[in-house]
Amino acid sequence: MSPDYEIVIGLEVHAELKTQTKIFCSCSTAFGAEPNTQTCPICAGFPGALPVLNRQVVDLAIRAGLALHCEIPAMCKFDRKNYFYPDLPHGYQVSQFDFPVCKQGYLDIDIEGQKKRVGVTRAHMEEDAGKLVHQGDITTTPFSLVDLNRSGVALLEIVSEPDMRSAQEARAYLEKLRSMLLFAGVSDCKMQEGSLRCDANVSVRPFGQQEFGTRCEIKNLNSFRALERAIEYEAKRHMEALEDGTELFQETRTWDEEKQMTRSMRSKEEAHDYRYFPEPDLPPLFISREWVDEVRAALPEMPEQAQQRLMEVYGLPEYDAALLTLTPETLDFFDRCVQEYPDAKTIANWMMGEFSRLLNQTNQEIGDSHLTPDHLVQMLRLVDDGTISGKIAKTVLEDMFNSGQSPQEIIKAKGLVQISDADTLLPLIEDIVGANPKVVEDYKSGKGKAMGFFVGQIMKATKGQANPALVNELLKKVLDSIQ
């Protein structure tokens, strides 16, 4: 990136709120149902049907607001945002315009060890639209099909200040936001399922310039990686335009995952004028301080608090504590382990090492794997009591991860128990030593490698099951006894 320019980024994030029913009707919000099986006259926008607000939506919105350090104003209301689109049944979206449920919060992100505060302008409740199914691409499809299962699902739109200055910061913000929402228990935040969606507003200006550059909104960012790549692409495009003196237009662009580029969305509406006005079918909301306090009291432990706890109670380094508090599931896994097994650092090492590697490899979340905290603890105890070696433990962990079997079952089935019996090992060692007089000579002449050779041979002969400490001890004895 050119050092002469500054990138300015703001994010608009839509998080699907974790409710049983939609925001204004009692239809289920379950993901993946058959098309149009979760609709009714309200969410399908039939004439004469009326909305009634789901209390849980407001509770979750307040909870999210508190997690994002927002102010919860005493009054908020709903408004209609008017535009036509085939997936928008009413011809308007019920949203919040000038009186949102949350405003003026912030999130702290970590950028290369430096803390940076990103402002949260506001967060407001709104309804989701339905889903359009195209044959192939939207630009070429001869027709589209409309499924309204998603129509009316409750969303929280969280708008950041244009405080981010790089793709990396934007990613860190989105990761932190996701983590906060997960910890607060307000959303599943599954980007693949669309329960967390992100639009990025990107502009570029010469360093030192006060005014913002021409802003483009990028949609369709379905992963953290897409967010980063899209911002980088877009910033480069802007810089090149500024260099070349070509004009930039304020427009909405979409991220093309296949081509790894942003492209202009042909203006679906020539003129944008949403004509917001107060939703007459819904009385205003007055959120008392008691209500806010109640929600605050019920707020679960948030990542920062948890991180602090891990450092103070278990003496974990900040780095470890940060990694273990990325998601509530990770923290929960750690907490369950540490209750049964006091060596927190060892648990952390295994979680951040082998376990994390396996998760990445298989593209799974911690909750998807078969490994339970209980099994991990059992495995660590088996290492401690010498039943298995640390090396074998890695194999056992992978097996537990894949099969869900207990470590004992795996060890038994595969015969992985460590050989710690001198009577078994001694004849074996004597055989190997006796068969390699040349190496014995090397040993006697002080070549350190000789010892390693014998250990390797013994391990090979025992398929790695020999207790390494015992092998060392016995080997030394055998070699030293040779004159």
């Binding site: 409710t19 049983q20 029913t21 009692s26 239809c27 289920s28 058959e34 098309p35 149009n36 099986t37 979760q38 609709t39 009714c40 006259p41 399908a44 009634v52 607000l53 789901n54 209390r55 849980q56 939506v57 407001v58 209301k77 008017n82 036509f84 085939p86 359009l132 199914v133 195209h134 939207i138 630009t139 499809t141 001869p142 027709f143 589209s144 099909l145 409309v146 499924d147 309204l148 042909r266 679906k268 020539e270 003129a271 004028d273 004509r275 107060p278 007459p280 819904l282 009385p283 205003p284 909301l285 007055f286």
Partner: protein, 94 residues
């Protein structure tokens, strides 16, 4: 205020109404008449008056987050001008 043909076209476009040239002329004239009438409101000062957004002194009307059966999709689709595979079918978007 008097609406121009251009403004009528803009409004019709926002409202997804297709107007013929004659209709544009007719509606421009008629809407201008009503807007002139609406302009009589300028005779009174509304400075400092709180807009009446909700006539009823009620607030916080909720339902509980409990699922109820949705409508049978055959029923919700029965009035559709065009449907396919239990979905509403619309012509191309672009």
């Amino acid at each position: 205020m008097a609406l121009t043909i251009k403004e009528v076209e803009h409004v019709a476009q926002l409202a997804r109404l297709k107007l013929t040239e004659e209709e544009k002329v007719k509606f421009a004239q008629q809407l201008s008449t009503v807007l002139d009438y609406a302009d009589t409101l300028n005779a009174i000062s509304t400075e400092g008056v709180e807009p009446l957004i909700h006539i009823l002194p009620i607030r916080n009307v909720f339902r509980e987050d409990q699922r109820k059966p949705s409508m049978e999709r055959e029923e919700i689709l029965a009035n559709a001008p065009l449907a396919e595979g239990f979905q509403y079918k619309v012509p191309k978007i672009m």
